[in-house]
Symmetry: C2
């Protein structure tokens, strides 16, 4: 009845071995749109930062040597010869015995090599300041290249840009950069029983397409661009045609395989006929999610997901999300939040299979949620999931487990 | 010289006590735009799910009682009286001694109360199936309301929508819902020395605005909508005017206070004059980030950040991000990823102050990154940060610390 599972792989094998060479093309991205984007090459600092010797405190620019030996009991006295204004080149020079008023962030005037904090001074009479503590050369100052040296790597390639990276790029005047295009992920649902979510009234036996909107959400979270490709009936010719269209306009094709075994084989047949090297595996040693197809059509990866929403979403999170990141040039996806919790009851498993168990958390306790893999509510009720690794035959109640948290 | 720190608070006091009542208004959001949005009220299931009794396996719909006693050695024989097609109401009834072919997900025909997996059957001659194992009533079936009961809470209010929630809403036919508007966060930079990031050549003493683009990124990550309000010079009248404009068009105003102490006081004065109840605190027991202003103008919260990028971004992450979530109706921000690592050297701190220390991770070791708070590179080089809580006077080398990871 079915040829499924003729080539089952473990999740580890799939993550390591199923690695289409495709990376999305390079495009120029404006700073305001760059959050989460992956630079294609190191961004090099065009100049030093801050670019000038700068005060880190409010106080007085001085020659450090003039302050040696100063104390509360025996302050040194300096002539205040001027004041530095923010954002301006100082128009005064600090000579021996002189001091210049400095705001935090101001340009260190010529002749000065330190800035004494205002807290350690007293301007007792106009034009004269008492310095109550000695300061070493360089004190209260950042030098022109203390933050960044010209020509060094400002932002590394391959790491999704963080909010603070945008700040660093802005500081360096880099307002656009080269980044991988967001991976376009075609999402195709199949099944005679599947109808669009907007269908108000269902005929008996019909179900609304839950998988496509949830996949689109996971794709967005992974920095991809969902390309909705609609619903295809259980008809091999229609599926082949829809796959061909999807392959032509995307960097990854995801097919949720309806519920029928026939559809899975039809997907495998279509993929095999549409490009090389074809099927990588047709069955994954994971629960839920065993009936998973991984394939490649002339460089474009194809993931055939189980028809059950729970299984489909578990597999896409574990196998599809890292692939979306890799297509965008990011080898290591950003970390997920997790927490250690105590398992409330035994979780059975089979050696050689990765089990993904949804859990609810309650004050440090992880309660496994069991239920048919057709039930989407198992996922919406879960706070996160735990993984039973391939070698294990289960987990015991009371064990400390790492729970990956949903955000 | 300055009135700063006249009302210093701890971070805990600020998070608990600084809680403007404002929540963003309710708006109707389409499913495709709903990821991360916060529902304003519980979404109630309009009907049961899956909505009909459904097979969870490929096999044969039967009366369970007909299979009692069946075994490999002594199978029971049933007449195959028809087949159920996906997405269709069955046109056959299962009477005693009868069976109907079932695909996974098909509608259970009238008269049947279980579905035997195809693996436990043999169709030895056309029209007759051998059943090799007994099945209990309900076996291989999910009932019409096993996933969701009509009238129950499908998705709770106040929790940002996850990808899987979108799937559940789609399954229930809920293609739009009521959610809080994204908080509009006005971002205002101040300082005579600050110029736009696109400024190609700087005059001596000028710096490009690094804080505003980084804040915009943090606001987006927190589900907010950054409203860039430009750069204001160190002039109280101009600042008051810009603040007034920002207050009128946003749910939260963030001012990065330039580097001058005077600006901080000017911000405080302007806020106090523009609305009630005015200033909550003017100084936060945190390092870096002490010169932080928290205030409220007729319901709209205002955060005055230090002028140093590192300090400003640390404070906004710890105090501003939870506030953005709260404005959108989410009391508990989504969890952040973290990891336990061993500290490579002593980290000094002062009791009563929360210290936020940037760290680099290397194989389970957390290396603290020290450096002036003016240095943005401390943040871009960091993999995450650790927190030294208020009661502690420091952390010892070798201690296990929790590092919150940047994504």
């Amino acid at each position: 009845m079915s040829r499924e599972f003729f080539a089952t792989r473990t999740v580890t094998e799939a993550l390591a071995g199923f690695s289409p060479a495709l990376r999305t093309p390079t495009q120029t991205v404006a700073l305001a749109e760059a959050l989460g984007r992956v630079p294609t090459c190191d961004v090099i600092a065009p100049g030093p930062l801050p670019g000038f010797a700068r005060s880190t405190v409010d106080g007085y620019a001085v020659r450090a040597a003039d302050t040696y030996g100063a104390s509360e009991g025996l302050p040194c006295y300096l002539d205040v010869v001027g004041a530095v204004r923010m954002g301006r080149q100082p128009d005064v020079t600090v000579t021996a015995g002189a001091a210049v008023e400095m705001p935090t962030g101001g340009v260190l005037p010529a002749g000065a090599d330190a800035v004494v904090m205002v807290e350690y001074t007293n301007e007792t009479m106009p034009g004269t300041v008492e310095v109550l503590r000695p300061i070493a050369p360089g004190g209260g100052v950042v030098h022109a290249d203390d933050d960044v040296t010209a020509g060094t790597v400002l932002i590394p390639a391959g790491r999704p840009l963080r909010a603070v990276d945008l700040g660093m790029l802005a500081a360096a005047g880099v307002t656009k950069l080269l980044a991988h295009a967001r991976p376009r992920v075609a999402i195709l649902s199949t099944g005679d029983e599947v109808v669009p979510p907007a269908t108000a009234t269902l005929r008996p036996g019909q179900v609304r397409d839950a998988i496509a909107p949830a996949l689109a959400g996971l794709v967005v979270e992974a920095g991809g661009w969902p390309v909705p490709c609609g619903i295809v009936p259980d008809d091999p010719a229609a599926l082949r045609c829809a796959l061909q269209l999807a392959l032509a306009q995307s960097d990854l094709v995801v097919v949720s395989a309806g519920s029928s075994v026939g559809t899975r084989d039809a997907t495998a047949d279509a993929v095999a006929s549409l490009g090389k090297p074809g099927i990588f595996c047709h069955g994954l040693a994971i629960k839920p999610g065993k009936p998973t197809l991984l394939a490649e059509c002339d460089g474009v990866p194809v993931i055939g997901l189980p028809g059950n929403p729970l299984s489909a979403l578990v597999v896409f999170r574990l196998v599809g999300v890292p692939l979306v990141w890799r297509l965008a040039g990011c080898a290591t996806p950003p970390p997920e939040p997790s927490v250690i919790a105590s398992l409330t009851r035994d979780v059975p498993s089979e050696a050689g299979r990765r089990d993904v168990v949804q859990v609810q958390l309650d004050g440090g306790q992880a309660e496994p949620l069991f239920g048919a893999s057709a039930l989407l509510s198992v996922l919406t009720r879960a706070d996160g999931y735990l993984v039973v690794a391939e070698p294990a035959t289960g987990l015991d109640a009371g064990a400390d487990v790492s729970v990956t948290l949903y955000r």
